[in-house]
Symmetry: C2
Subunit: 246 residues, 2 copies
């Protein structure tokens, strides 16, 4: 789930998110918001730290302030499958309140990460108290569902360079005219895994995308000289136009 | 969203679903269920009929009794992207109540289809009245989200024959010892599209799957002689084992 678009502009906006910035908490009673604020914990997590393992009891859900987190599962044969690679403005672990109370995937900080963590028990109790919170979560999940439909659609209609471009565009929620520099995980194979590509396919596709849109990559920085050129290249093969409504 | 596993066994169980069979309505007040029953319409829809177009105002959501329905979107360039291909036991269109009240994709009957349709307005009003309905929907959407995570994971860790096998296994929610015959859409390119495969990749992969698991395909019928052999072949490359918990 994403926070309100007005704040979810990684690489463009500095500053900390707070509980009331999260779309899920929009319009929620101030005393309830205050309870979440009181119960929250700010955490600095070092690169490589495993935050939790799939199957662990879900005590906390988290909002990323900075850095990248990898969500993954292990297959029965023991290989790792990347579920998502997410960054500032994203919540994770909040869904456990509708499941069996355990994390359905593992989470690891792929670089130094700053988090705000909230108790899942408080969320579970609050949903019962405030129907607005349930409705907000339904809306967020519905948007998320559309976004995932879009991704499955993309396997069908977009080529690999376009899918990388789409991943980048989803990190920019408005359409600035000036060049945009994004901060990605240093290890690009994570993004390859996230997009269901083999690392060698990803490298070739990224080279093609750079050529087509003048993208520049330096270590963990990606500079997009023109968001509109990138959007033209990517979104012609999608049922949405940029910026995505969900 | 799926109905309760106990009834969602396409190709194995005959008979009609009713409102109280849908997991979303589990534990809901009897008078509210009765209101849905009274407002429902049974529909027989001929093959090829477009049920609605993306962007149409969403008056109805539907439960499939028999047949296959294609959900799709059009890209800006005009090609068709398959969002899903679904069959009996599946709901569609119910999510529109959390969106802007319009269908976010188009729907077409890919063969003769039998539906029960319910007014979305009644659902929207009922969610406000009965918090249990909101919680049920959150649970269903959460399961759906896990399932979609699993699919994105599969692009990474499963080969094409395994992904076809997984699609088939998801149509069987228990693990019978006897052979199972499933009814698929006659036009297999729909499933190819659903799985993000080119038709030629799909044909090669299906041939490989038949060889590995003794699967037999006759027109729109697929016979799985041993579900456990198919599950062994497919689920070793997944973080779940068969039958899937979601």
């Amino acid at each position: 789930m994403k926070v309100s678009p007005k704040l979810d502009v990684p690489g463009l906006k500095q500053g900390h998110f707070q509980i009331h910035d999260i779309l899920m908490f929009e319009g929620i009673d101030a005393s309830l918001l205050a309870a979440f604020e009181v119960a929250s914990q700010h955490r600095h997590v070092a690169k490589g730290t495993v935050l939790y393992i799939q199957g662990d009891e879900a005590e906390w859900f988290h909002l990323i302030q900075s850095g990248w987190v990898k969500l993954f599962r292990e297959t029965i044969e023991g290989s790792e499958a990347i579920v998502d690679v997410i960054t500032r403005g994203h919540l994770f672990g909040e869904n456990t309140v509708f499941e069996n109370g355990c994390y359905s995937y593992s989470a690891q900080a792929v670089e130094d990460v700053e988090l705000i963590s909230f108790p899942t028990k408080l969320l579970k109790d609050s949903i019962e108290k405030d129907p607005k919170l349930a409705t907000n979560m339904l809306q967020s999940m519905s948007r998320y569902r559309l976004q995932q439909h879009r991704e499955i659609e993309h396997f069908n209609v977009q080529n690999a360079p376009q899918r990388i471009g789409c991943f980048l565009l989803r990190l920019i929620l408005d359409a600035p005219e000036a060049p945009v520099t994004l901060h990605l995980p240093y290890d690009k194979t994570l993004i390859a895994g996230r997009l269901g590509m083999k690392p060698e396919t990803f490298s070739r596709a990224l080279a093609k995308l750079k050529e087509a849109t003048n993208l520049r990559v330096h270590g963990s920085s990606v500079t997009i000289p023109s968001v509109s050129i990138l959007a033209d290249y990517v979104c012609s093969h999608c049922s949405n136009s940029f910026p995505c409504e969900e």
